[in-house]
């Protein structure tokens, strides 16, 4: 499928349009709220909650017997919230650490959910099929009303984030300070957690239990690399999330047998890798370049200092010496000597070098700086 074909389809094909819109909105809300989760060091909360939502779906179905998406998601929301608050309770009241608490809630709730799901499947109720789409997610089952719900939730989340922006920010970076200023930190904390759970729950249908955590994390982790401002990060994360959703849907639509959820996650992971490598301030590539530059600079100054040591033993600074005597000091190359000449630290004359006045003072100051620091 070529790009123009894709765009044609995007405007004519109802399913593709719905799914693209749905995944874009989902990516945006996950990116936005995921930023808070990542900065609060609760990255894996999403993983635990998405698994914890499963029994809620099963119980909601058992009670109502209907497969209405909204009711099932309500069940998921309730059990996700129970999971989230149990994690918190466990960490604060016992000596179990957060990783154990997360792992416990994740596996125990999920196992219980599986028990209920298999129990439901054995029931003589024709309605039960299709519950397992929440396990791995089936973006293809998205219909307009689902997307509408997503848009609604996203809009609410956006309004709340904007309303409580100052409080959220304060709580993220200095909860004690927020507390002393008289903010109800417990309430704000619950508010953030509630919306994170909400975002996870509406994403279950699309990407499924297992991959939901990546939807929450990856855009935020990628956005974090490009900025140190919360507002920019939230915005960027939402953008990256939405793009991952649209790209992922496009790629999975272009071929058979490519499930949408995993493709979206891989696209988001690709964004993370790119951000890790190419971000100008934190990226690995530029960090490495800066490291090499610094190392060269240091090497150059070391050579200069060695020359200074030699020149000091002579009466005049510009007394020429052969390059050969630098041999017992390994830190020079032809290139580094030329570089020093460019800096006007030394004068090169065939096989000989001599310090210039500029080089001499430079080395002297270098030495002074060093002794001052010691």
């Amino acid at each position: 499928m070529s790009i123009t074909e894709y765009f044609n389809l995007l405007f004519t094909d109802y399913t593709l349009r719905t799914i693209s819109l749905g995944t874009a909105v989902l990516g945006a809300i996950c990116g936005m709220l995921g930023s808070f989760a990542v900065l609060r060091k609760q990255s894996l909360l999403g993983d635990a909650i998405s698994h914890a939502a499963l029994p809620g779906i099963a119980i909601a179905f058992l009670i109502t017997g209907a497969k209405d998406t909204n009711i099932l998601l309500l069940g998921a929301l309730v059990s996700g919230l129970i999971g989230a608050f149990w994690i918190r309770g466990m960490i604060s009241k016992t000596h179990l650490k957060s990783d154990t608490a997360l792992g416990l809630v994740l596996s125990l709730f999920f196992g219980f959910g599986m028990l209920l799901l298999t129990y439901i499947q054995k029931q003589p109720n024709a309605n039960q099929a299709g519950l397992d789409k929440y396990l791995f997610g089936q973006a293809a089952t998205l219909v307009e009303s689902d997307v509408l719900l997503m848009v609604l939730v996203t809009a609410t989340a956006l309004v709340v984030v904007l309303l409580f922006w100052k409080e959220f920010k304060l709580l993220l970076f200095d909860p004690d300070y927020a507390n002393t200023l008289g903010f109800n930190t417990k309430f704000i904390d619950i508010l953030i957690t509630f919306f994170i759970v909400l975002a996870i729950v509406i994403g279950l249908q699309t990407v499924g239990v297992v991959l939901m955590s990546a939807m929450l994390l990856a855009p935020a982790a990628a956005a974090r690399q490009w900025t140190s401002s919360l507002a920019v990060m939230v915005f960027l994360a939402a953008l990256i999330g939405a793009f991952s959703g649209v790209f992922g849907t496009a790629i999975s639509a272009s071929q058979d047998n490519l499930s949408t959820g995993p493709v979206i996650v891989l696209v988001a992971s690709f964004f993370v890798v790119v951000s890790f490598v190419f971000s100008p301030t934190r990226g690995l590539l530029f960090k490495q370049i800066r490291l090499i530059k610094n190392r060269r600079d240091l090497q150059l100054k070391k050579t200069l200092q060695f020359m200074y040591g030699i020149a000091q033993t002579h009466e005049s600074i510009d007394h020429p010496h052969t390059i050969r005597i630098l041999n017992n000091f390994q830190g020079f190359t032809k290139k580094s000597l030329r570089k020093m000449e460019e800096n006007q630290w030394i004068l090169l004359n065939k096989q000989q070098w001599s310090l210039t006045l500029k080089g001499f003072t430079e080395a002297q100051n270098l030495f002074n700086q060093q002794t001052q620091h010691e």
Binding site: V38, K93, L96, L117
Partner: protein, 386 residues
Amino acid sequence: MSSPQIEIQLIAALVAAACAIPGVFLVLRKMALISDAISHSILPGIVLGFFITQDLSSPLLIVLAAGTGIITVVLVERIQKTGLVKEDTAIGLVFPALFSIGVLLIAKNANDIHLDVDAVLLGELAFAPFDRLLLLGIDAGPKAAWIMGVILLITLSLLYLFFKELKVSTFDVGLSSALGFSPALLHYGLMSVSSITVVGAFDVVGAILVVALMIAPAAAAYLLTADLKKMLWLSVCFGVFAAISGYWLAHWLDASIAGSITTVLGLVFLLVYFFAPKKGLLSVMYRQKQQRTEVSLLTFLLHLNNHQETEERHINHLREHINWQQVKANTVVGLALDNNLITITNEVISLTTKGLSFTQTALEYIITNKDDKIEHLKDDFFLFRG
């Protein structure tokens, strides 16, 4: 009980025991979530291994898939070391990506391989007895039991051989490297054992139950004891108990065995979580309430000490002054009376000599803030606790 039933329970018990042992160390080393990451990210390893071996229970596949588990651990550590993201984010980034690759590999080759994601995540214990191991043409029992038995045996012998080293490096990394036990070696050893256990167990009980079997028994045991050996024993017992009773629950409900084992594990953990004698929720909350009352008592006595005027020490005035609710005031005054720290005459409260020396000691602690002043305070003065 028919023979497949016994075999299923045997396999479940073996898996539970094999998972519980590395689980204890993962929980103690605060790496519980690594098991979750490994259990998901072995999927591409399993798929690739399946392409090569065409047999889900071949040892080569187990080694290949366990390799993917190690790669996950290394990747997480490498990403974490760059300092770009925190450890938990690194875990959360790596395993969904690897899992996605696995899912896509399966989806793309759905026609060629007899493997589906449900089976990997959830496993099907009920089918395990049908895959028999034939030795020289003789039926030697279910393959899964042999695999898990071997893994358990390896785990046990490694545990026996390196118990001291594991113990030291778990609780004191610095001491361990000073003594010459390489923490890195032990770390990767533990990771390898965990990976192999996860892979060996996945096609029996599924990836998620593996996580439950690793973390839940260890966490429950951790709430009950602070002794490593006892903790190991307890968690193995919890695991095996949950495996066998979970099987019967599934039998009764006609539902997934893995799911019901996890549910039993959850119930066991919940029970321990609430009722553990020292570290359970109820006892912690009781202790906190006790401490609150005792701190209130201290404030109350200090208040009495500060005021000689009778109107300040009148029982009704105190209730207004310190702004306590009726019930709380009664508790605190009652406790003080029980401990013989105050006397009440004509509704005016005064300190006894014992109460006076108690406040003196407490004041000394408040002024100097030295712990040895307060350490014996409660034992010396309290006959009854709050």
